[in-house]
Symmetry: C2
Subunit: 453 residues, 2 copies
């Protein structure tokens, strides 16, 4: 039986970054990564396979950096982990001994067994699987009426992309009042939903799917809670993901009530020498420490960097504990991003806040032909002015500005500090120094705080 110092189960972003970081830091340690399929996918790139990239092979991701660093990789499936013996057994009959084991098994689409017909033919999911998505593309090729269930990021992005394909009629069904409402404020969710409607997507909000019907077991209709019946040649269920932790559960690891593997700040499970990282592992909210279920590749890689550096002893202190969810997307040319608090999650967590926003343009002067609007909304603690959350929307700059706001939240920066925050500006790259949207939003927040005093 081959022995490894480290075995990593899974080759998504969490597995690859953990392995690569750990191997680079510990070149003398032997490391094995076990992945289920020959090819891997960039998770957040999957929606763009359906149109803009046009080919699953343009969205591949693999453990090459890990291999380059000297790690071993096999394509196989782990069927059993023996915690006592410190071994893993694979589907092909191999057995390996580990010194340290890392679960990076990711997540699986939630199957809505409560919807009659959920298991009909031509009901699909957005699995993070190269083979599955490659097949799905083929399946959808001659399908006209496509119904997407769920208006989160994946559902909305897939809908937007499919609607750009010729001869497709795409509908999206979201039970909440707006799409994206789990990540964005009502204000931004409404903007995003309207933007999605202006593509060719028929968006049904505040609507549930009552049943999936058809002739035999093939989808033909989707019945909605609003009484409508939609013609359907294919249905894509995109109602969320759940941690892929059946293997961990069988091995005896502690799972939380969301089925995620319970870990500490350094991704260590309750069992010595066993870690879990990424979607399969527990997250707690950045501001509250409350149990959370954030599944983002960006979060997973932050955890993986921490784990990779610290697998053999804590060498790099984790400075930001808790998961600050930072979301970004682009729908129909409108970039949108959010970090931390907004009205919805603040209310849920009973966190007091004031909010303020400012809109200007992303270049200066605004007479440049490619100038686009840009809005920053800040959520601020009324006690000390610290930034608890932010939303940015408009031009592509939103994708990087949200990361400045993220750093501000993580470092406890206050709106008062942003008054003397020094930045760089340039006509072709940023807003004007006189109207830097982030700083102006901070000023609006200060004004709002003063008005309340």
């Amino acid at each position: 039986m081959r022995k490894y110092d480290v075995i990593i189960i899974g080759a998504g972003p969490a597995g690859i970054i953990t392995g690569t970081t750990a191997k680079k830091k510990n070149p003398d340690k032997s490391m094995l990564m076990i992945k289920e399929e020959e090819n891997g996918l960039v998770p957040c790139g999957i929606p763009y396979i359906f149109h803009r990239l046009g080919d699953v092979d343009k969205n591949k991701m693999g453990p090459k950096p890990f291999v380059d660093a000297g790690g071993d990789v096999i394509t196989d499936s782990v069927e059993k982990v023996n915690i006592e013996k410190k071994t893993v057994q694979t589907k092909s009959g191999k057995e390996f001994h580990y010194e340290k084991l890392v679960f990076a098994t990711g997540s699986l689409p939630v199957i809505p067994t409560f919807i009659p017909g959920y298991d009909f033919e031509n009901v699909f999911y957005i699995k993070k699987s190269y083979n599955y998505i490659k097949q799905l593309i083929v399946h959808l090729k001659d399908k006209k009426n496509i119904i997407i269930v769920g208006g989160g990021f994946i559902g909305a992005e897939v809908a937007e992309q499919l609607a750009l394909e010729p001869n497709k009629e795409v509908s999206l069904v979201e039970m909440e009042e707006f799409c994206f409402i789990k990540a964005f404020s009502a204000e931004l969710s409404e903007i995003a939903t309207e933007k999605l409607r202006k593509t060719n997507v028929n968006v049904y909000t505040s609507t549930r799917v009552n049943s999936v019907n058809g002739k035999g077991r093939t989808v033909e209709k989707v019945e909605l809670s609003n009484g409508k019946s939609l013609d359907a040649d294919a249905v894509i269920m995109a109602i969320g993901y759940k941690p892929n932790t059946e293997l961990a559960r069988e091995a005896g690891l502690d799972l939380n009530r969301m089925s995620a593997i319970i870990v500490d700040n350094y991704e260590r499970t309750s069992i010595k020498d066993v870690c879990a990282v990424g979607d399969c592992s527990q997250t707690v909210g950045f501001l509250t420490g409350t149990l959370d279920n954030i599944m983002l590749a960006s979060t997973a890689t932050a955890e993986a960097r921490v784990l990779g550096h610290n697998l053999f002893g804590i060498k790099v202190k984790k400075c930001f504990t808790g998961t600050l969810a930072v979301f970004s997307t682009e729908i129909n040319g409108l970039a949108m991003a959010a970090a931390g608090l907004n009205e919805n999650n603040a209310k849920e967590a009973n966190i007091e806040f004031i909010s303020a926003k400012f809109t200007d343009v992303d270049r200066h002067p605004g007479t440049f032909e490619d100038t686009m609007p840009l809005t920053v909304k800040l959520y601020v603690s009324p006690s000390d002015g610290s930034i608890l959350g932010g939303e940015v929307w408009g031009s592509k700059s939103s994708g990087e500005i949200i990361n400045t706001i993220s750093l501000a939240i993580q470092k406890g920066v206050t709106v008062y500090e942003l008054i003397s925050y020094q930045i760089g500006t340039h006509p072709l790259l940023t807003a004007a120094p006189t109207k830097t949207v982030l700083i102006k939003a901070a000023e609006m927040a200060i004004a709002e705080m003063n008005a309340r005093k």
Copy 2:
């Protein structure tokens, strides 16, 4: 004689932001802004008047926000300030009494009196003056051979833009080995200089202008230190700016050896109730506190926000003292940005550092058609890993990423903290979470620091 609570001399970014902020905070105080010309210009937009904007009127900026807040504005020129009587006298014969006076008089181009012929006809400057630039555009219209002296931001950007105009032969003469060397490292300066050469600009580096010659007093030739003689129909001198402080000097304010008005952290001069802000006021380096002469609209507006909030008593503590110069530009489609330390200024200030860089792409996967390379270079303190400086170049994202780095420098963020820094990523907006260029550069820096131990 009309009395004002506040008089602001100057209506550039520093004057406008000081006035607008102060007036909004203190609506009951009477405020007057005195500006020299009817129209003002966005300072950093000036180079783009020469081609991309194509019209000086597309680059206007004025004190409308100040007026909207209830401030008075006149177009006139202050000829004398009487500190004892607290009055200002204008060219048109008006006299005003102030309670608080703000110098926001900006800067003027340096005139190279040491170059014979510097005062010939058709020798021009990039003055921050609407009337002057409007005239200059007319003057240059039928000029073919244009020589630009000085390869800093303004010189290089004007050269790049003029070279895009039809029937122009543009040459740029820079005495240092590379353009931009005062703001960028040798590595980035070289990249920028090569990019400028690939426009239609003939770039002469390590070269000085010996003299400007001509028939009578009209420019015909520029003689270079390398022995070359360039045909010249017009010369633009862009060798830097100096504080516009003659009025302040005559009024008796203390100036430093760079002729900037000496101020404290809150822009207060040594004379009670007299402040100075922006290019005309002193700056000290962020890391060293050494006397500096940074003149940037972004710096000026940060000072102006601080002054505007605190003109009648310090209400918002200045959290970042010292000036962190943050530069950005785009030459021929390549965005470039820098903040804080680099090899050049580190050597000058005798600051030890390690540097590390990482290059990837600005979108993910890299198969998107509009993907561009992106490089981050970090300069890090070997003692504690804190980030002292950074450079970013490649795609337009550079313009916002440098501001995340700026915040990191200002908050003393270490490369170790960046390991657990949580960010948002999206295929259409950012690099991949597995290869976020800023975080990867931090990892390279940690590896470099470990290697030295």
